[in-house]
Subunit: 240 residues, 2 copies
Amino acid sequence: MKLRVDLLPHGQYPDVVVVVDVLRATTSAVAYLERGAEALLLTRTPEVALALRGGGGEYVLGGERGGLPIPGFDFGNSPVEAGTQNFTGKTVVMNTTNGTGAAHVAAQSGKHVLLAALTNAHAAARRARALATEGIAIVCAGTDARVGLDDVYTAGVLAEYLLAMGEFELDDGARIALTVRRGGGNPLEALGGSAHGLHLADLGLGADVQFAAGLSISTVVPTLAGGGDIPAETLKFVAG
Amino acid sequence: MKLRVDLLPHGQYPDVVVVVDVLRATTSAVAYLERGAEALLLTRTPEVALALRGGGGEYVLGGERGGLPIPGFDFGNSPVEAGTQNFTGKTVVMNTTNGTGAAHVAAQSGKHVLLAALTNAHAAARRARALATEGIAIVCAGTDARVGLDDVYTAGVLAEYLLAMGEFELDDGARIALTVRRGGGNPLEALGGSAHGLHLADLGLGADVQFAAGLSISTVVPTLAGGGDIPAETLKFVAG
């Protein structure tokens, strides 16, 4: 089985694609589902998210641009904030700077698309391994088309779990991610020292970085769901 | 001073840009100049290279596509082959799959553009440090728009030399490259184990990989030259 890590989204994925945007979209996605959300709708643009609510549905909007909340949204893509809320029965509509775009790239070719963070890393790796027949691609969202140390480190953690579950043929990206995981200190050091981690700390969002560094504290794996009831330009993820 | 490593070409460079395509374009570039070439012309496409020779100039053509020589070219982008020739007084026209394109991206915004490989790493780092006033960007060419372990390792070697020469503020790419350098074994292990190194070995070009792993054996630094006599869609590099 092949294991590939894209340090930035590249496309043309095998049957299982695992999307990582650890600061903070995929960490928040896990948190929303942990707190009872029925589903997540990842939209291509903030406008699509706002239009969905205009349609009268039972939607809660979460998202950010450059780390800051989007005007008109209810929540700011913060896993800590999500943890204080009860989303039971609600659908959370998400739009973020990098993570939601990476998920859309993944969904163009991947058959099974999962969202992974450090918080659900072990469960995500196990799920990916169980679903894969051809290969697994881990896709780092990056930050504004630049490679992010936070995502590469997280991909390395996922790769390490996968290697403990079976044999894989590794591409260069997987080798790089594993080396970064092994030489990059503990999760909080790696996330806190990344450019994106420093930026969030500057915005007063250091608690989110700390939360995101919690390793395998959740078994929820947001999983792309099909079906006819999904609005255009959105991807629906449910707890798996 | 800032030190940035682009794991793939990204654009918008500071005053000094160092382009790395260690397997094999930048290693061959150093070798051509070591063997007496007066200048290198890096063309955007193979057609531009072939047209130059049609113009009657004293040109020698070197290049590859997918590792194989380009029909009509004299040489196949092999540093070992280059080492057996005498290029005194000649201009070598180069076109390769990834490296020449990365150099063109670098030249769009960088003021000083240098070509670096492992073979000239120490000299290239010293030159970059001497020229820089704002910052240094090391640009990995990658392979077919994918991050290459060979180039990232080489960027880490350059970054390590630079850190020994002064203080730098590192971006995520630089941190990743340094970690890969430190955890990636010796140069031959890193290059030989990369996807591109394995591909070249499959093509019977393992001797080029071995040659490219020679650390700081040359003090030649191919340096972008200005001036009015440069054909369109080409970049001229001279020994610096």
